[in-house]
């Protein structure tokens, strides 16, 4: 079980800010692939992965990173602070 958070337009497209996801996905890429098969809203949110960033337990990470031991996965667009 992993807590998945969404921000900005990913949150809007998926329709929830966070959810518990029961998954056996080995990596972030596998988790995205799994979510995309669930419902069209995930397919829409993850259609262009070049516009998606990921943080694992609140640290910026990569799609290829294993999810073992990770409690919190966050998906969001490139950041626009400052």
């Amino acid at each position: 079980m992993v807590e998945v958070l969404y921000f900005a337009w990913l949150r809007e497209r998926i329709g929830v800010p966070r959810e518990q996801v029961e998954t056996t996905a080995a990596t972030v890429s596998d988790l995205i692939a799994e979510l995309k098969t669930r419902e069209p809203r995930y397919e829409a949110a993850f259609a262009d992965l070049s516009a998606v960033r990921v943080a694992l337990d609140q640290e910026l990470s990569d799609f290829s990173v294993p999810l073992a031991g990770v409690r919190e996965v966050a998906f969001f667009p490139p950041m626009t602070g400052g």
Binding site: F7, A8, W9, R11, A55, F76, P77, M79, T80, G81
Partner: protein, 146 residues
């Protein structure tokens, strides 16, 4: 060092009062304040979303990195979230150092990293709708100079 991530408005001049002053090892204070700008003439407000928890950690890591690269006597980062009016301060950074070069460079470093490594997302609100601000390629390339 002080980091504040807040909904509330702030007064940059009040925040700077006394910053870096009253000590023998500080000869330079640099500050930058970012204001809500309206490029289209259509904007009503700016909404900023952030990732509570990660935001503070990310800014903390950026300030820590600045402190390893430059000898800073003090550093200040304030960043707002929520709904902001046009012309209002969004964020500010301030640095205090022995000489101005370190203070200027560290302030620019903090700004460059805050723009694309701290989890904030801006949304422009207009009379007809709202649009997420897209990250600029130039913000990413700005990091390569460090």
């Amino acid at each position: 060092m002080r980091i504040a991530v807040q909904d509330a408005a702030f007064d940059p001049s009040a925040e700077l009062a006394g910053f870096g002053q009253g000590r023998a090892d500080v000869g330079a204070v640099v500050s930058f304040t970012g204001l809500v700008r309206d490029d289209t003439g259509q904007m009503q407000a700016l909404e900023i979303e952030h990732y509570p928890g990660m935001t503070e950690r990310a800014i903390g890591a950026i300030v820590e990195e600045a402190c390893t690269r430059w000898t800073l006597a003090d550093a200040l980062v304030i960043h707002r979230y929520g709904r902001l009016e046009i012309g209002a301060p969004i964020m500010m950074v301030a640095t205090a150092a022995r000489h101005r070069q370190a203070a200027f460079e560290a302030a620019e470093f903090l700004m460059d990293y805050l723009k694309s490594r701290a989890p904030f997302w801006k949304k422009e609100i207009t009379a007809t709708g709202a649009a997420w601000v897209e990250a600029k390629e130039s913000d990413e390339t700005a990091l390569t100079r460090w």
